[in-house]
Symmetry: C2
Subunit: 318 residues, 2 copies
């Protein structure tokens, strides 16, 4: 089932202790689409300037990714520059040039008709709302990502989007920030109370948690990488693996089960881990189905254990 994704396509300049790239293909949509396309069809809604390199367009276009909704307008493509330090969980933004992204007015092309899954990547909540309206009632699954900036300056609109999606995907610190709760469990209840049926909490290099409105809970630790070369886009690739897998399940027919969501969380972690192995979207471009299968099986083996145990005969006394 096709996934329509709206958000940024941009040019990233990134420095990490392992190297640097300049004007590399980036933006939430690029990572998301290249991850999700390993599972199902992706329809892009985005904007780039007339300086957007033709080979980047080709890299996207060669996959199961439709680009009719990626507008090209006169001006400069969105650019972001960042630097990571030895602890790759922290980064400094060096610059943000919005370029044509400043006036982005997303429009879902007619050709995308019937998109079953909608992913609102991290953009202004007002634009996310607009896309939800365009998608209409037909969508089978709606999910959003966001960031600290929108919690600070567009809280009401963000709340409105949260009320209208099925799944909220959010970083742990943003869940706390949005709700003002130190307890993650309380933060989770606060967000689920708005209406979404499921909440995914991203924990960076530690993995992700899945909560549902009925109190269900599932944890997927991160895949342990030998080398994190560039964590940029890991969260978007996570969302791509997560929603890509769910779209694949929806394509197979029937309703999504709790088990589908659990496996989706694992696929999210897997795609996030691949994204970190090289700069820009390189690793996602080079990825094969066999490599995905292998990492999935590894994941099963390092999280499963023979659980049966009972402490009954071992009391508290001497």
């Amino acid at each position: 089932m096709a996934i329509t994704v709206v958000g940024s396509v941009g040019l990233d300049s990134v420095e990490t202790p392992f190297g640097a790239v300049s004007d590399a293909l980036g933006g939430a949509v690029s990572y998301f689409a290249l991850a999700a396309a390993h599972y199902d069809q992706v329809n892009v809604v985005a904007v780039v300037g007339d300086d957007f390199p033709a080979d980047y367009r080709q890299q996207l276009d060669a996959r199961r990714i439709r680009l009719e909704g990626m507008q090209t307008v006169a001006g400069k493509t969105f650019r972001w520059g960042g630097r990571y330090h030895l602890d790759m969980n922290a980064r400094d933004t060096l610059f943000t040039d919005l370029g044509v992204f400043a006036d982005f007015s997303p429009s879902i092309p007619q050709a995308y008709d019937g998109a079953g899954v909608v992913f609102l990547a991290n953009i202004q909540p007002e634009l996310q709302l607009d896309v939800l309206r365009q998608a209409g009632e037909g969508a089978k699954l709606r999910a959003l990502d966001t960031m600290n900036l929108w919690i600070e300056i567009a809280r009401d609109a963000l709340t409105e989007v949260m009320r209208r999606v099925d799944v909220v995907i959010i970083a742990e610190e943003e869940a706390r920030q949005y709700t003002g709760e130190a307890s993650l469990r309380r933060a989770v209840r606060g967000i689920l109370a708005l209406g979404p049926k499921r909440l995914v909490v991203k924990q960076g290099s530690y993995g992700a948690l899945l909560f549902d409105a009925d109190g269900g809970y599932f944890a997927a630790p991160a895949y342990p990488l030998d080398e994190v070369r560039d964590p940029t886009g890991a969260g978007d690739s996570f969302a791509g693996g997560f929603l890509g897998y769910l779209a694949q399940r929806l394509s197979a027919g029937g309703e999504l089960t709790a088990n589908d969501y659990q496996r989706a969380l694992v696929h999210g972690n897997i795609m996030g881990s691949f994204a970190c192995e090289d700069f820009s979207v390189r690793r996602l471009l080079a990825l094969t189905p066999d490599q995905i299968n292998k990492r999935y099986q590894e994941f099963v083996s390092f999280t499963h254990f023979e659980g049966s145990w009972h402490n009954g005969e071992n009391g508290n006394g001497r």
Copy 2:
């Protein structure tokens, strides 16, 4: 199989956003022993001053904990003061008064003869070495914990202890600090290369990882608490659950399996989570076998998923 633990018993003064305690029962050994005693016999090697409250001694003594090796000497008991902020993963030390702990010379009493498991809690590596020598060749399992201070000022002695134990239990940032590796996997290989057969990496509120010398890997996410009231002692309680479970398995006869270690990691997480639910050792004192069983079963349910999936039919092309 009895566990001999050496380390600090002290009086903690702790402030968190949820309250405060003054001169409460603390120290690595108190948390470790009260957690491990839920699984098997614990033999304490420690020192307290003549100001150590009789009721604290009784709280320890009422469990499967032997105190012949807890010396009482003239002077003040070790005291520590700390303050936690809204992000409970960070704390400030307000004061450390070593008191009689400054001249601690650990001695394993004759009465503890035949201890099968030895846990070297976080103390000077030289003292850890001394205890290993006293324990002799008879021990079935030797494990150590440590801290950033010893990595900085007693690195060589710490390395020597690492060479002689079966299991190293260490916080993630300390594994990186000790090896100077940004990549956790490389840090793990660096420590395992010294000789220990297994390495447990503690990740605070995110859970724990288990690595073995053959490349085996297991991840246990943290149990998600509604309220973390006081994280003090969580790492020591983790070690208590981990080694307590292994001691219980050794008591049942036979050699420890990979599966035993995996379940031990889960029991470590469980005990760490209980410790955080109240100030000082209160929660460990009040804990029942049923509560441990229930949390263990919850843990199984939120980490297990039906794994079968294969991406074979879903290629990379259109």
